[in-house]
Symmetry: C2
Subunit: 397 residues, 2 copies
């Protein structure tokens, strides 16, 4: 039930002192191959202020694409995003990769680096470097403690997030860990994700499967509309099962693991009292359905209404109404909205009484039917609560 | 200091019972011309779920454009948005215009209608219709109580908003009133605004001046990123001063009145503890500056940090970094951020100590210098507070 579930992987987590509260803050995931089968793929934030470790990992994966590197390890730290840290940040990320490479006796460009925490502060390298020795030693001594790695990447997360699935025929498996509780929105959320598999895959198959899985999982959650500088989703392939799956079957299983992790992110989102599935159906195109769903999940008025258990469908329509007709054609007079099982809006006007909408549970389903086609899409989001404000008004100080 | 300051206007406000708390909820502004000089212009929400009164007012102004109508009165109600109310809502808006026309002895298409309040509930016409008689009688008996009209359009507003300016030569004046405290974002905010002037203007000049003024005022505030179904900004021209101003001078004065009202909206925004001017300078184009400013003011993480008096510049950069390079080209390694007078980010990395940023005042200035050109733009916004959540979690119930 972790990144060490598939064969061929070691992982460890330790407290290097980057977090002031003494919690674990440094994780290492090692891909032991076999060396000739090891493959990796990554998907990263689209933010123009992408952090130094994101630039480094992108570069190392590009080398891997050209056959000039084989990413064999991912080192991840919380307690500092190493974003917007200038030349110092670039050096720190490089030094981190170099030190891990020495400890594992691999090349520096075979190491990927992920960081999370406050933007704008330089990493405490005097703590991180000794921590690397410790985490590498632990990954050697007790190689199967993926749980510790999952804990070491937490920031405002209240629980570690892990997932694991076996192929139907048991021939290979996929494991994963994730962190992220705020700055949680496409593309991507503030998330670090490492997924491992012992399937045998070529690079192109791994990359395509990862992109497909992200599109259907991490890019369909939007907790607070904010895009991070550090988002990284990395897939490590060991090939240790010796089994080469059919690509579409692998992509499907990978998507399921990614969706499991994505749901765990939404379940633990900062201050949330509801996990809300906003489904837009009856759209002319899937992109149109997504655009309307995104318009709704980005509305603070919708999200505060949900926090108040208030089936305020007018706020859903007013958010949907901001999406240009060219993006999602529909007739406002035909739109239905169902909240918590009750069609409170029918044909763009009042439906059944608001009181019939049941918002008492933690999971709420909002269904918007545009009656303009046959496509649909779901985005998971959260409500906007007092607790969210408290957490984010006080985070950096 | 109100819509009745310029010559040629009457106004009144009354409590018709649309609001359950007995507060004023019905306003009337009458343009007494002279009849051959009366002109009107309007700017309305871009929301596809635009309310019935918005559709009606748009239609009546289109008739005026063609010389087939002369809008002589605006009737405004709070206590119900008459949005997403289907055919009933269309009839109710038409009936309202018709009754006002009878009372003022003008044509129904010479009446504009504005509504604000909860989306999705039909108007209580049994209360509104008798209220119209009362407000029309009051506007006849005591024609200069613009203050009552300003109070009657309040929803979650805590104070009425009014403004007035004289032309430099005293030849004419402009007065205005506005409501809006939430759903406050371009284009436009949840606002109802009526601006009056006794200048002599032709229709095209009035329309162009209003569009220019809105672009520089109501479309440059963004309290909560939510676009309403009812936004209406209406300019009524009486011509009663007999003075025909130079168009650009009038547009400038009108812009100043609109900016005054826009600032009052932000000052009274729901639950806000800060009024924040986000200025983006050094942009290649004004549109690029606006796009970056909009990206920042839409970030809940930036807004909660401000609520916590936390100069968290990383959240400003991460929001700016979501704007595509094609929209606003800049080099992330060159961007400076100044908060409360302190350049806490310089060249995309740490600047002076965060402690030097003074966030204790209600008004906060955030300056982002892209160092990519000479254009700039400012958007006013608010912080995201506990009080905002409380107000909006409880509003409809």
């Amino acid at each position: 039930m972790s990144v060490t579930s598939p064969k061929g992987f070691r992982a460890a987590g330790t407290a290097a002192g980057l977090k002031t509260n003494g919690a674990k803050d440094l994780a290492l995931v090692v891909n032991d191959g076999p060396a000739d089968l090891a493959v990796a793929a990554g998907v990263f934030t689209a933010n123009r202020f992408a952090a130094a470790p994101v630039h480094l990992s992108r570069r190392h994966l590009a080398l891997a694409q050209s056959g000039l590197a084989v990413p064999r390890a991912v080192v991840l730290n919380s307690g500092g995003a190493n974003a917007c840290t200038g030349q110092q940040g670039v050096s720190d990320a490089a030094l981190t990769a170099q030190r891990v490479a020495e400890l594992l006796q691999i090349a520096p460009h075979d190491v990927l680096v992920c960081s999370t925490g406050l933007i704008g502060d330089s990493l405490a390298m005097d703590k991180l470097l000794p921590g690397l020795e410790e985490v590498a030693a632990t990954a050697q001594a007790t190689p199967k403690v993926g749980q510790d790695a999952a804990e070491a990447i937490m920031t405002t997360d209240t629980v570690p997030k892990q997932a694991q699935l076996e192929a139907p025929d048991g021939a290979y498996s996929i494991g994963g860990m994730a962190k992220g509780a705020g700055m949680l929105a496409p593309e991507l959320a503030t998330m670090l994700v490492v997924i491992t598999t012992d399937a045998v895959l070529d690079q192109a198959t791994a990359r395509q499967a990862l992109e497909q899985a992200c599109a259907q999982s991490f890019n369909r959650i939007d907790s607070d509309g904010c895009m991070s500088t550090n988002d990284s989703v990395i897939l490590l392939v060991s090939g240790a099962s010796g089994h080469r799956p059919e690509p579409s079957q692998f992509a499907q299983l990978l998507t399921a693991v990614a969706q499991d992790l994505a749901r765990q992110l939404i379940a633990d989102a900062e201050g949330a009292s509801h996990e809300i599935a906003v489904t837009v159906k009856g759209a002319l195109t899937e992109d149109g359905a997504l655009a309307v769903a995104r318009g709704i999940v980005r509305s603070n008025l919708f999200k505060t209404a949900m926090a108040g258990n208030d089936p305020n469908w007018g706020r859903i329509l007013s958010a949907a109404g901001t999406v240009p007709a060219a993006v999602a054609p529909f007739d406002p007079a035909k739109v239905d909205v169902t909240i918590g099982g009750a069609m409170v809006c029918q044909g763009g006007g009042p439906g059944v009484a608001r009181e019939q909408a049941d918002l008492t549970g933690r999971v709420v389903e909002v269904l918007v039917d545009l009656h303009a086609g046959t496509c649909q899409a779901t985005i998971w989001t959260n409500d906007l609560t007092h607790e969210y404000v408290s957490i984010n008004a006080d985070y950096s100080s």
